[in-house]
């Protein structure tokens, strides 16, 4: 296997969720249910009283489901169906992680969105000469929202901030590319 092939595989796997947690939780639940059913079968074969429900009773009540109170059966059925639907969606959806690829020649570089956000916050606060605590940035798959709260009485140069943020994003060369939107509060904050 060549290095580009390996790198493609790694990049794909690092930016998408493995769905391990959900799969492990489901597997554990399945093990519990199957182990319980198995125990009931053994107990029934030995002729001892059942733990919860004997296999024969499980079967008859499942077959006679229609005679059970309609409200409870319908509610339980709908809840089960909805959970099933959510699981199907989880199984099929891509499950992107909050990460970006940073272009590089020698290695594969994956960066958490929050690292990008925190770097943008620092650069925009310097460019807009506001306190770093008054700059907040959130980075999503394709957008970065920069929000600055100016110090009262000192206007913020929006173009300088926009330019600096764009320059930074360009230098990171992210995949997929991120576009920034700068928002500056109308009301300043005193003493910051």
């Amino acid at each position: 296997m060549s290095t580009p092939g390996i790198y493609r595989r790694i990049a794909r796997r690092e930016t998408h969720s493995p769905r391990s947690l959900l799969a492990i939780v489901l597997a554990v639940l399945l093990i519990v249910v199957i182990a319980w059913l198995g125990t009931e079968i053994v107990i029934a074969l030995l002729g001892a009283p059942a733990l919860l429900v004997a296999p024969v009773d499980t079967f008859t009540s499942a077959v006679n489901l229609v005679q059970a109170p309609a409200g409870i059966v319908a509610a339980a059925g709908i809840v089960a169906a909805v959970i099933g639907l959510v699981l199907i969606i989880a199984a099929i959806a891509p499950g992107r992680r909050a990460r970006h690829l940073l272009q590089s020649e020698r290695t594969v570089v994956v960066v958490d969105n929050e690292v990008i956000a925190s770097a943008l916050a620092r650069h925009s606060s310097v460019a807009g000469s506001v306190d770093p605590d008054n700059a907040s940035v959130s980075v999503s798959h394709r957008h970065a929202a920069v929000h600055l709260t100016p110090t009262s009485g000192i206007p913020v140069d929006r173009d300088a901030v926009t330019g600096e943020v764009a320059r930074q994003l360009e230098s990171y060369r992210l995949t997929p590319p991120v576009r920034a939107r700068v928002r500056i509060s109308e009301n300043g904050r005193i003493g910051a």
Binding site: M1, T3, I6, Y7, R9, I10, R13, E14, P18, R19, S20, L22, A23, I24, L26, A27, V28, L30, I31, I34, A35, L37, G38, I41, L45, P55, V63, L65, V66, A68, V73, A74, A76, G77, V79, A80, A81, I83, G84, V86, L87, I88, I89, A91, I92, L102, S104, R106, T107, V108, V109, V111, D112, E114, V115, S118, A119, R122, S171, Y172
Partner: protein, 201 residues
């Protein structure tokens, strides 16, 4: 990076989801839709008779019990074993060997991955940009791949972080005389948030 079988994960989730959806929808339909409800009522007696007939037709020796139940038991044990294997297989794929090469016909040269990991750790560990760093080696498609994960201090540019790590990797390339594929993972996280802002510009 690890060898987790992601297709298997998704397949299990999909199967459980389909099972829940079908059983749940069938149960709801059986009590809510009158036509289905009557059909179910008619079928109840037949199904019960059919199953008890099966149980009587399949005696286990002369014990008087059907072998269907023990067979179900064996299936249950197999399913549990399969599921346990499935869980244990998650997140594997570490390797202890970075380079293995047959240098002569009398033997091979092996470079353990600890060499590469410690060289990189030494180069990166002391940098003020990083709060924490960790190097490990995985096998991807039968090739050893280095994974360098670093936790950045607040405000460090990811580009700078990547350049620092990449310089260290290139130095390792020179040392080993070959290029090992490498992944650099730059993360923030809780420790990055509570530490002081970087003073580097």
């Amino acid at each position: 990076m690890n060898s987790t079988n992601r297709a298997a994960n998704r397949l299990l989730i999909l199967l459980v989801g389909l099972l829940l959806l079908v059983v749940g929808a069938a149960a709801a339909a059986a009590v809510l839709i009158p036509v289905v409800r009557d059909g179910c009522k008619d079928a109840t007696g037949q199904v019960t008779a059919q199953v008890s007939e099966w149980l009587q037709q399949t005696p286990l020796g002369d014990t008087g019990v059907s072998w269907i139940l023990p067979a179900l038991l064996v299936l249950a044990v197999l399913a549990v074993i399969l599921l346990i294997v499935f869980i244990v297989r998650q997140g594997r794929g570490h390797t202890g060997i970075a380079v293995r090469e047959s240098t002569s016909e009398h033997g091979a040269t092996v470079v353990e991955s600890a060499v590469a990991e410690q060289v990189l750790q030494d180069a990166i560990g002391g940098r003020p940009e990083f709060v924490a760093s960790h190097v490990s080696t995985y096998r991807v498609k039968r090739t050893p791949v280095l994974k360098i994960s670093v936790t950045c201090r607040r405000g460090v540019s990811p580009k700078d972080a990547a350049v620092i790590v990449e310089d260290a990797v290139r130095a390792l390339d020179l040392l080993l005389g070959r290029q090992l594929p490498a992944l650099v993972q730059i993360s923030g996280g809780f420790r990055a948030r509570i530490t002081s802002t970087t003073r580097l510009q």
